[in-house]
């Protein structure tokens, strides 16, 4: 039996919009084992981004408990959260969020220079297949390439947990597939725990675990014993 690496226990997150209170996370409970490729799926507003934000230490929860690698992160302060993000989390954004004024390599270095145990920037870029474009600025790269830089930046930190927020959302079909493949490979080969959120339920077969959300609640948490390689998935 695999160890539970991520554990959400009855997590609530409320936003107050004037007089209306929105329960973005309304008692979310689930767990993910170490080394799993987990996909959180749901429609817009289902609360998956909230879950990802809380998990990534970007946002905080109002109630409940979140355990990551045996550490309770639900009550961490600003500075502790920053350390958590720094050492434990790799984040892949939907819009890549590369610093336009830095080259691909420098964007990776931006992450590595603050970590203790980081990977060499060149190695990270090599591993995502971008050895040739290291010295290009983001504006000189295609979307897929930019997302690869973003992944390299996340991986270079050697995080315990790789969080991906709709990584293919801004990419075309094939490029998106390539990116997903890269993520799946990284998960399989390096044994990294990956949590990916998407509204596209078509890609769920590639995951070890599929968490389905609706209206701020987890409606199903299914383990897929036979994940399918991404190449075989069409949507």
């Amino acid at each position: 039996m695999m160890k539970k690496f991520v554990e959400f226990d009855n997590v609530y997150k409320r936003y107050k919009m004037g007089e209306v209170t929105i329960n973005a996370a309304n008692g979310v409970s689930f767990s993910i084992d170490e080394g799993e490729f987990a996909v959180v799926v749901g429609l817009s507003g289902a609360g998956k981004t909230t879950v990802l934000n809380i998990l990534g230490g970007i946002d905080s929860c109002d109630e409940g408990r979140i355990m990551v690698g045996g550490k309770d992160i639900s009550h961490l302060g600003g500075k502790e959260l920053a350390s958590y993000r720094r050492y434990d989390i790799g984040f892949v954004f939907q819009f890549y969020n590369l610093i336009p004024n830095l080259t691909a390599k420098e964007n990776v270095e931006l992450a590595t220079q603050i970590c203790r145990n980081s990977m060499d920037a060149d190695t990270a870029l090599d591993s995502v297949g971008l050895s040739e474009r290291k010295n290009n600025f983001p504006s000189q790269l295609s979307g897929g390439e930019q997302q690869r830089v973003s992944i390299a930046r996340a991986l270079a930190k050697k995080p315990k947990l790789l969080l991906c927020d709709e990584p293919t959302g801004a990419l075309d079909y094939n490029t998106g597939k390539n990116i997903l493949k890269l993520l799946q490979t990284k998960c399989r080969e390096d044994g990294m725990t990956v949590v990916l959120i998407t509204h596209n339920s078509a890609i769920t077969p590639m995951a070890n675990r599929v968490i389905n959300m609706r209206s701020g609640k987890v409606i199903s948490n299914v383990i897929n014993p036979n994940p399918v390689p991404i190449e075989q998935i069409e949507w």
Partner: protein, 1176 residues
């Protein structure tokens, strides 16, 4: 359209800080500009209103001989005259703590009889106007800085320059009942006077009937020019007044003619009488004095003769004494020689004697030794003999005698034995022949026959033995006897020998002793001879000494006598001199008395002459308002403020416009998608642009209004308040400078709106489809620095990022640098102004005019008296330099005679001392300027104001007469204006002798601490009227200059505010543009401090670069401001101290830190969720 309007207000609400920052920067620049701009017109308007309200005269008439009622009537009759107010004025002196203060006493302005209005109506600040005789009001300016209080009494000296105060004014003491100020004196300047040191300290006003004079001194006139409705600062008014001045001058000529025909004649008569009286008295006195002098001279001659005689006698005595002294010294020498000779001889004798003595001693020693030796031998022989003798008699002889006795005994025994033996033999032979007897029976029984035979035989034997023995003994005995006799004989012989030796020894001893005795006797004789010699020598010496002493005593006595003679002479001489001195003193007293009398007469004469002089050259002076001290300065000062107001705020506006530009451009860029959407929805370009235009306009209009309101409400008051140090004006009347407001607000509004519109239309040109897509972020680019590989390689990661960011946003780079540089420059400009101001006093009084105390001399003194006074000054070692100076007020006209500049013409009596006190030099090269006899030297500021250059010929009025002279030098000077010339040039120029009236002194360093005492001491001197000390003056000068500090303060505060706003704005934009970037790096796990560092690094570098650029800009600005505010009387050295640069730089950095600190919280609040949003 409703939605659009809502959109605008929401926009404002959502971007509060942007809106406020645009508003603030517009407010700041508009407020500063309008505020400072309002100062100048407010100042002028305050003055104008004040002059109107107090009915300031248009023309002031002053006459050297005063005015009578006829004059007044004639003036009234003139067409241009509206109103006339005749009045009195007198300059009197107050002495307090040995300091003379000159007070100008005015008659209190009264209602005119024609118009029932008061001309030059004073404003009562405190208390009330005088109501009865002995009361006065004091001016407010002096009242505020002096110790006077209402109720205090002002007490005048009884005399002012020999003239009784009582002849001028009814009372000597006036009680202060109130404090006033008057439109005639709006500055602290109180004008010049012929009394005291030439300057008036303050004025008081007393009712006009307090004045005793019959003639009015001043006549104040209001003319039709004043009623014309033109502003008194307008050119129209000035033209009118000029024309009217001429009319009054024409009138004055008529009036003077009439005066000469009447009043002057009487005065001439009086003078002639006085002259005669003086001549008589003078002759008399002179005769008396000359008699006295003659008597004194005779007495002196007699005394001298007597003294001469006595001296001769003394000299003779002295000569004699000298001779005896010489003799004595000869005798002394002789005596010494004789003594020496005798001494030598004695020494020889002594030597001989001691030689003899030595020889004798030697002989004696020899003799003694020999005697002792002989004695010893003798003794030994005697001892030997005695031994022998005692041996012989003691031992040998007795022994021999004993032996002999023994031998005799033996012989006897032997004889006896023989006898016995023969008897026996007989007996035996008998027996043999006879029987034996009974007793013998036994023996005989043994062997009676044979034995007897045997016995007989033995006996025979024995007998034989005996006989033998006897023979032997006998022989021995005889021999013994013989020996003994022989021994005795020998002894006797030895004795004889000994006795011989003894007698020989005795003989020899005797002989030696005799010889020694003889030697002794000889020696003794020598001794006695020596003694006699010694005695003789001593006697001779003593005698010589005595003689010498006697001579010495004689000489001493002679000397004493001589001494007595001398002291007698001294006594007599002293007595004679005393008598002479007394005589002289008497003469001096007499002379002084005569002098005093003469002086009195002379003074009278002089007075009379002066009166005549004055009367002779009787003249009216016609003055307009410009002649009022400070009247024209008010306008100048106002203009100066205006100059500063123009320089600074334009700079300000420029920076503000730049900031608005960046801000608005950014705003439009941010709203790109919205613009695209609206466009796609079909809104017209205009209505879309309207939002940004209105947003900008709202901010700019609100900012302008708020800024202007605050600026106008504060700055004019602050600035005018600083000038109130120099001007006495009523409460400021605010004039709103609509034009300036319009200009600055317009510029601000126009800039912002234009920028907003242009930026907006720039975006609108793009097709909506493109617009709706997020604008591609400015692509990253390699910067130039990266190509310098060695440098780039050595930079760390963050430095690289910073460097790239700096050059990526060039516009922002430029904006920030310009904005920050502007702030630094403004601060340095302000501080530089202060530096220039504060350095004035030091430069002026430590480098250029080096004096400590100035003494004003009384005018009555003659040239000789002044020379004598100067010798006293020179003799006072507490002064290191003293210089007699002629100091007169001279007037330069410039600006087509519109403006007048009063300044001091200085003529130093002695060029050497002059050069030590007045340093004439070129400002830039510090090269010495020589004062020669070909022209005048003027100071730089004066040359600038009147527009004169080196070698130009300038015209000026000196002692009321016009002259022209060539400018031969232009000298460095900061405070005040001066004209210098040599006495020779003055004489050539005016044809008059220089009249010296002032003594400039430098106090020696060691006496600096008691400057006040020195001054007080000198004030006791009758010839000195006033003293002014630089130290005390300096304080008031510094106070005055300090007033400008307020402006500096305002400047620095505004510059600081500007710095904060600019930096805030730019940092705000910087952060807004990079929210996504900041959120991303936060997600990456940057701590807050690291994030701040990431952003601020750029800010800090930009600030430092900007502040650095601001340094030279600041210097430029300071130079410009200093040039703009030059006064006629003061030249500001252009100086920016290092510390000012430092403060400017440091303050900018501090402001930047402040902004960074504020922005830190803003950055901290940036939500990381932003990073997840799609690019808008």
């Amino acid at each position: 359209m409703k939605a659009l309007r809502k959109n605008i207000f929401r926009e404002i609400k959502n971007t509060k800080s942007r809106f406020i920052s645009i508003l603030a920067i517009i407010a700041l620049s508009t407020g500063f500009f309008t505020g400072v701009k309002a100062s100048s017109p407010s100042m002028m308007e305050t003055g104008r209103q004040y002059f109107e309200d107090q009915n300031l005269m248009d023309i002031r008439l002053v006459s050297t001989v005063g005015f009578d009622d006829n004059d007044i009537r004639k003036i009234k009759e003139m067409d241009c005259t509206v109103d006339v107010m005749p009045s009195y004025m007198a300059d009197l002196i107050i002495s307090q703590d040995n300091i003379d203060t000159t007070v100008r006493v005015y008659s209190l302005p009264e209602k005119t009889d024609t118009n029932d209005r008061i001309i030059n109506e004073p404003v009562v600040v405190e208390g009330r106007l005088p109501q009865k005789s002995g009361e006065c009001v004091i001016e407010s300016y002096y009242y505020n800085i002096s110790d006077y209080h209402i109720g205090d009494t002002i007490k005048f000296n009884e005399k002012v320059q020999g003239k009784d105060t009582a002849d001028t004014i009814k009372n000597l003491e006036y009680k202060i009942t109130g404090v006033v100020y008057t439109p005639v004196h709006i500055t602290y300047q109180r004008g010049n006077t012929t009394v005291g040191d030439g300057s008036v300290s303050f004025f008081i006003m007393v009712p006009s009937d307090e004045f005793i004079s019959e003639r009015y001194t001043n006549v104040y006139v209001t003319t039709t020019a004043g009623e014309s409705g033109y502003s008194d600062l307008s050119d129209e008014y000035k033209e009118l007044i000029e024309a009217q001045t001429e009319e009054y001058e024409n009138l004055s000529k008529d009036r003077i003619r009439e005066f000469n025909d009447t009043t002057l004649k009487d005065a001439r008569q009086e003078l002639d009488d006085a002259k005669k009286e003086y001549a008589d008295k003078k002759a008399e006195a002179e005769k008396e004095i000359s008699d006295g002098i003659k008597k004194l001279a005779d007495g002196e001659k007699e005394l001298n003769d007597k003294l001469l005689e006595a001296e001769e006698k003394l000299a003779q005595g002295e000569k004699e004494l000298e001779e005896s002294k010489a003799k004595l010294s000869d005798g002394q020498k002789e005596y010494a020689d004789g003594i020496e000779d005798a001494k030598n001889k004695l020494a020889d004798a002594q030597q001989q004697y001691s030689d003899g003595k030595t020889a004798y001693s030697k002989a004696k020693l020899e003799y003694d030794t020999e005697i002792a030796k002989a004695q010893n031998q003798l003794n030994a022989a005697e001892t030997e003999y005695n031994t022998q003798y005692s041996l012989f008699y003691g031992t040998t002889k007795p022994q021999a005698e004993t032996r002999l006795t023994l031998l005799k005994t033996g012989i006897d025994l032997c004889n006896e034995g023989i006898d016995k033996a023969e008897q026996e033999i007989q007996k035996l032979t008998d027996r043999l022949e006879s029987p034996l007897q009974i007793g013998e029976s036994i023996e005989v029984s043994l062997d009676p026959d044979e034995k007897i035979n045997e016995q007989i035989d033995s006996l025979n034997e024995k007998l034989k033995e005996y006989r033998q023995k006897l023979d032997e003994y006998q022989k021995q005995y005889d021999e013994g006897i013989k020996q003994l006799a022989e021994g005795e004989k020998k002894l006797n012989k030895a004795k004889d020998q000994l006795d011989d030796a003894k007698s020989q020894f005795e003989e020899k001893k005797l002989e030696g002793a005799q010889k020694l005795n003889e030697a002794q006797i000889q020696l003794d004789e020598a001794q006695s001879k020596l003694d006699i010699g010694k005695l003789e020598y001593e006697t001779a010496m003593n005698t010589g000494l005595l003689e010498l002493q006697a001579a010495q005593t004689m000489i001493s006595e002679g000397e004493k006598e001589l001494e007595n003679g001398r002291s007698e002479l001294e006594k007599q001489k002293a007595a004679g001199l005393q008598a002479l001195k007394e005589g002289r003193e008497k003469l001096a007293t007499g002379k002084a008395e005569a002098r005093t009398k003469l002086n009195e007469a002379e003074t009278k004469l002089k007075d009379a002459e002066k009166t005549i002089d004055k009367l002779q050259d009787a003249k009216w002076y016609v003055y307009d308002r410009d002649s009022n001290p400070g009247y024209s300065n008010l306008e100048e000062d106002a203009l100066r403020v205006d100059n500063v107001a123009t320089v600074f705020p334009i700079f300000f506006l420029l920076v503000a416009a730049l900031v608005c530009l960046t801000t608005m451009t950014r705003m439009v860029e941010e709203r790109r998608t919205e613009i695209g959407t609206l466009k796609a929805l079909g809104y017209s370009n205009l209505s879309i642009a309207a939002k940004y235009f209105i947003y900008a306009a709202l901010a700019a209009v609100a900012g302008s209004v708020i800024g202007a309101a605050i600026g106008i409400a504060t700055l004019p008051f602050i600035i005018i308040d600083t000038y109130s140090m120099m001007y006495t004006l009523p409460t400021t009347k605010l004039v709103i400078p609509w034009d300036s407001f319009a200009f600055s607000a317009g510029t601000g509004i126009l800039c912002t709106c234009l920028v907003a519109t242009i930026a907006c239309f720039g975006e609108l040109k793009i097709r909506p489809a493109t617009l709706m897509r997020p604008k591609a972020p400015k692509p990253g680019k390699r910067i130039l620095l990266e190509h310098i590989t060695p440098l780039w390689k050595h930079m760390n990661f963050t430095s690289k990022v910073t460097a790239r960011n700096l050059f990526r946003y060039k516009a922002r780079f430029l904006m920030t640098v310009i904005g920050v540089a502007g702030c630094t420059a403004l601060i340095i400009g302000g501080l530089g102004l202060k530096d220039s101001i504060t350095v004035i006093a030091d430069r002026q009084y430590k480098e250029i005019s080096i004096y400590d105390e100035i003494y004003a001399l009384s005018e009555a003194g003659t040239a000789d008296e002044k020379a004598y006074l100067m010798s006293q000054f020179h003799a006072d070692k507490r002064f290191s330099e003293t210089l007699l100076v002629s100091q007169n007020w001279t007037t330069f006209s410039y600006n087509n005679n519109r403006n007048k500049l009063n300044l001091r013409a200085i003529i130093g009596e002695n060029n050497e001392q002059f050069e030590k006190i007045f340093i004439l030099r070129d400002r830039q090269t510090h090269e010495k300027i020589e004062l020669d006899n070909n022209g005048i030297v003027i100071n730089e500021r004066l040359a600038e104001v009147i527009g004169a250059k080196l070698g130009d010929t300038v015209s000026f009025t000196l002692n009321d007469d016009p002259y022209t002279a060539k400018v031969t030098g232009i000298t460095e000077n900061y405070a005040g204006n001066f004209m210098y010339m040599t006495p020779e040039f003055y004489q050539r120029l005016t044809g008059k002798e220089t009249e010296y009236n002032i003594v400039y002194t430098q106090v020696a360093p060691e006496a600096k601490s008691n400057e006040r005492e020195i001054a007080n001491e000198w004030m006791q001197n009758e010839d000195i009227v006033t003293v002014s000390m630089l130290n005390e003056q300096l304080d008031s000068i510094l106070d005055m200059l300090d007033s400008l500090n307020v402006i500096v303060f305002v400047l620095v505060i505004c510059a600081g505010l500007l710095a904060v706003v600019v930096l805030y704005n730019l940092t705000n934009i910087n952060i807004a543009e990079r929210v996504r970037e900041i959120a991303t790096i936060k997600v990456l796990g940057f701590y807050n401090s690291e994030t701040a560092n990431y952003i601020y690094r750029e800010n800090i570098i930009l600030t430092i670069v900007g502040a650095g650029v601001g340094l030279p800009l600041g210097k430029l600005l300071a130079t410009f401001i200093v040039m703009a505010i030059q006064m006629d009387m003061v030249m500001y050295p252009q100086q920016v101290n290092f510390i000012s640069y430092f403060i400017g730089f440091a303050l900018t950095l501090i402001f930047s830190m402040l902004v960074n600190f504020i922005m830190y919280f803003k950055m901290k609040k940036i939500s990381m969720v932003e990073s997840l949003k799609s690019i808008e």
